[in-house]
Symmetry: C2
Subunit: 217 residues, 2 copies
Amino acid sequence: MTDTSRPASDFDDLFRASLIRLFQLRRDVRHFQTKPVPMDLLKKLVRAAKLAPSVGLSEPWRLISVESDHLRKQIVDEYVAANQQASELYSGDTKGLYQSLKLAGLKEAPVHFAVFADAEPAQGKGLGRQTMPESLEYSVVAAIQNFWLAARAEGVGVGWVSIFRPERVTAILQCPPSWRLVAYLCVGYPVEEHETPELERLGWENRDNAQDAWQVR
Amino acid sequence: MTDTSRPASDFDDLFRASLIRLFQLRRDVRHFQTKPVPMDLLKKLVRAAKLAPSVGLSEPWRLISVESDHLRKQIVDEYVAANQQASELYSGDTKGLYQSLKLAGLKEAPVHFAVFADAEPAQGKGLGRQTMPESLEYSVVAAIQNFWLAARAEGVGVGWVSIFRPERVTAILQCPPSWRLVAYLCVGYPVEEHETPELERLGWENRDNAQDAWQVR
């Protein structure tokens, strides 16, 4: 790409309105169709992810597509164990509601991406991450958010599963010890689309109303 | 919003192409004009941020607009101290290049947002964050990425400064101890727009070419 200075108005009102609409329609998907996602489309989504900002231009994102039945079974087993442990925290009605929630689409989703941050990337020469090394993981999250938005714009759903012991996933997938699990993503076409988060529809939690509030110092 | 089931094709090819263009044009800005950003526009960007996913619908983002000259001076002093420390890591040509980089726009940017994650939010009832509590900070990063993209679509620049000792910033801004600094954002109209990251233009680092690569297991 050429490096020209550009005007601020690269985007118009219609695009901006659609972008807000995309933010509104992006859901954390738990119910997937099993039909495959075309490889070209997956590549497009990964390219979109890698256009994210990264601390010191370190690009610490590391993606693993988990495809073998053997490994997927181990991932599901790990999820079940971690979820069992988590459910012990609740009691009474809350426990019943927790246990009724579908918190992963691991069995149906055609694509599984385990997404890691390399805690020791050579690229970037350490810039910007001396006092906040977690900025490496944060760079990977920005890439995931790009991926998620690009996917939703294509009608593809993403579900972020965080109910794992991260070091167990790193071990199952035989990743280098410097890689830290940031997210385990289920990817595929959703069974249905919704405007409100599933946790809100099912009565677990509501969004806060103060959507444009901040504090001043 | 009503909760209707929706078709997958809410977005068209033109929007999708513009979205990729937005990802490409989003820069980490260091050179700001001092002219103010309208309040209505800031509110719109914050609403966009808060449409991000959050673990267990916990919405742990906490935003502080840093406005007083007194506090801004303390923030700049903290940045200078942390940056001095960081520059000691380099030597020779790399040190000279490091010291020539403009790594913050703290003095010019009209808007400063310190963005925190509440590590103990009541909202969300702990769901999804037992084994990976860092998913709270990750939710805040997703909100920042929404903010960043929405800002760029409006011609507003964002610069993420991570060269701070986070607990020092929390203390300067007198935030509750459960709040963890995720990012310090400089926000304003950029002096110029570029297609390539400043760190690449100035010879610090290049982007990796494997933009659609991943590993398979």
